[in-house]
């Protein structure tokens, strides 16, 4: 067992355990913190796979952006120290059953499936390569999806402002 293997299993355990705690704890603020650790674990797995750029994006966008947004919305909508109401036992039981069946089905399929590995030359996922292909307009370039995503982000920005704006009748 090498050091890399031990680190991988530690990251996997961190991800899955904190993910489980994030959906089961009844303290909503703790759920957000467990989600934070789960996302950090996933970023660690990206680092372990040597996809440094994706790991950095994961930390910046998810850990630095989305989790902070979620924590702020918890502060704005929740009374301090209040626990979430207890779950209905029947619903919990059937959810566990459905999720367990789905998990078993997916894992059985996974164990039976033989993946085909390509025989091409490996491409290093460096920032230079990513940037060239991201903005490329030739075959295999991602310039069009890039532009569409930027328009989507603009639309989301405008939509957020319009939704969160106080209506005129309220302020007047």
């Amino acid at each position: 067992m090498t050091g890399a293997t031990i680190i991988f299993y530690l990251l996997a355990a961190l991800t899955i355990v904190s993910g489980l705690l994030a959906v089961t704890t009844r303290m909503i603020f703790r759920a957000a913190i467990y989600l934070l650790f789960c996302l950090i674990g996933i970023a660690g797995i990206y680092f372990w796979l040597q996809y440094q750029f994706i790991a950095a994006v994961q930390i910046v966008v998810y850990v630095g952006g989305i989790v902070v947004l979620i924590i702020f919305s918890i502060f704005l909508t929740q009374q301090a120290g209040e626990k979430l109401p207890k779950q209905n036992l029947g619903r919990q039981l059937f959810s566990v059953l459905a999720v367990f069946c789905g998990l078993a089905l997916a894992l059985v399929q996974l164990a039976q499936y033989e993946f085909v590995i390509t025989d091409g030359k490996p491409v290093e996922p460096t920032v230079a390569n990513i940037g060239k292909q991201m903005l490329g307009v030739d075959n295999g370039g991602y310039a069009l999806p890039f532009e569409i995503v930027s328009i989507l982000l603009l639309a989301a920005l405008v939509g957020c402002i319009v939704i969160a704006l106080k209506s005129n009748t309220e302020t007047a």
Binding site: L49, Y51, I66, S95, A106, T118, P122, P145, V149, I163
Partner: protein, 103 residues
Amino acid sequence: MQPGLYHILFISTALFFIGVYGFFTRRNLVTMLMSVELILNSVNLNFIAFNKYLWFDKMDGLFFTIFIIAIAAAEAAVAIAIIINLYRSHNSIDVEQTEELRY
């Protein structure tokens, strides 16, 4: 055992179904949004693992992951704007009490 593709696919499958469980059982909109984030992250992990172990001569999985992260950020921002607006008008973000569009 040396970790490989199957180990990472196991993690992402587990994360996906953890997110589905949270989505089924939670009744608070913010925690449901957190479950959706878990599901999206498991998909990202899948794309990266396939790119790393099966199609290492291309970077398509990596680009899909970047675009999914961008769309997830936009989705989270819009969802939280809706949730905060809902809290303003209903004083609650429990899905059981936001039933005006139900019928």
